[in-house]
Amino acid sequence: MIIIVTILVAVMLAAAVAAFVFKELLSAVLAACLVSLIASILFLFLQAPDVAMAEASIGAALVTAIFVIAIKRTGKREE
């Protein structure tokens, strides 16, 4: 169990760093979406199913969707 959690946290932090590094905004948003998804799994491990559900449906799905809509209407790349 602890090993799975450690791996998940490592992937989550790597995804967050990726969101920092990526110049392509869509990729950065997808990385942030991955962060949210893994966080939602961690919420489930921490016995918070309500929060996991909210994070998955709001934090991961809807937020990513509105990010993608906004990026489509603005620049695709940083700078």
Partner: protein, 230 residues
């Protein structure tokens, strides 16, 4: 330069915060309040999902504030997007959606709505509630926008659902102030028997109101952001 300064600044913040975490041991009980809710929550509120009883009864005032925050943001987004001009017709996508996408949307849309409704109606029994259900309803609308860009939600109906959801919540709270124990937002309805759909006093009613309100607001947010796409 700016990056270096920010890293130094953050290092200080995180160091201080990390040090103070030593006083917050992981996986130990920190609060008597949580215990009180777990022990008394079922009797006092009638909900088997204690998180729901905290969200809607013990800390219901926070939730009233929370739906107000979402209301503010949806209105504010509408005001910002509408500042330059009025509501415009959205041009339909250049190529018509394929049959598969259209049929899929038509099949999935009612199912998603039904699922969202299920989630918020059962908020007091199972994980989930008005916010999660509302988000699922909004994603059903998102699906429709992906398929057929030119479809718009009915502005008047959206506004009505949005407003009525809020008014029901505040109204129930004011009724609680007028009757029964005379506290704002106090639960004056009978609790019913545990673990049945019609139980937990006004929790299901409020979650239905919140679900409809949140669904309407989030769908409106998507609609506003899609406005006048070139």
């Amino acid at each position: 330069m700016r990056t270096t300064v920010s890293i130094v600044l953050l290092a200080v913040v995180i160091l201080g915060f990390g040090l103070s975490l030593l006083d917050v041991p992981f996986a130990e009980r920190k609060s008597q309040i949580g215990d009180y809710y777990i022990v008394n929550g079922r009797d006092q509120t009638g909900a088997t999902n204690i998180v729901t009883s905290v969200v809607l009864d013990y800390r219901g005032f926070d939730t009233l504030g929370e739906i107000t925050v979402l209301f503010v943001a949806a209105l504010g987004l509408g005001a910002v997007m509408a500042a330059a001009g009025g509501r415009r017709e959205r041009p339909s996508t250049t190529e018509p959606p394929s049959l598969v996408l259209r049929t899929g949307t038509n099949v999935l849309f009612p199912l998603l709505i039904l699922f969202g409704v299920y989630i918020f109606v059962h908020g007091h029994l199972t994980p989930g509630g008005g916010f999660q259900g509302g988000a699922i309803i909004a994603s059903a609308f998102l699906l429709v926008y992906l398929c057929c860009r030119e479809r718009r939600i009915n502005l008047a109906r959206k506004t009505a659902a949005d407003s009525l959801g809020g008014i029901v919540f505040v109204g129930l709270g004011l009724v609680g102030l007028a009757v029964g124990s005379r506290y704002f937002l106090s639960d004056f309805l009978p609790k019913g028997s545990l673990d049945t759909l019609f139980s937990a006093g006004m929790i299901p009613i409020i979650y239905i109101a919140i679900g409809i309100k949140v669904g309407a607001e989030l769908a409106g947010v998507i609609d506003d952001l899609l406005e006048e796409t070139e």
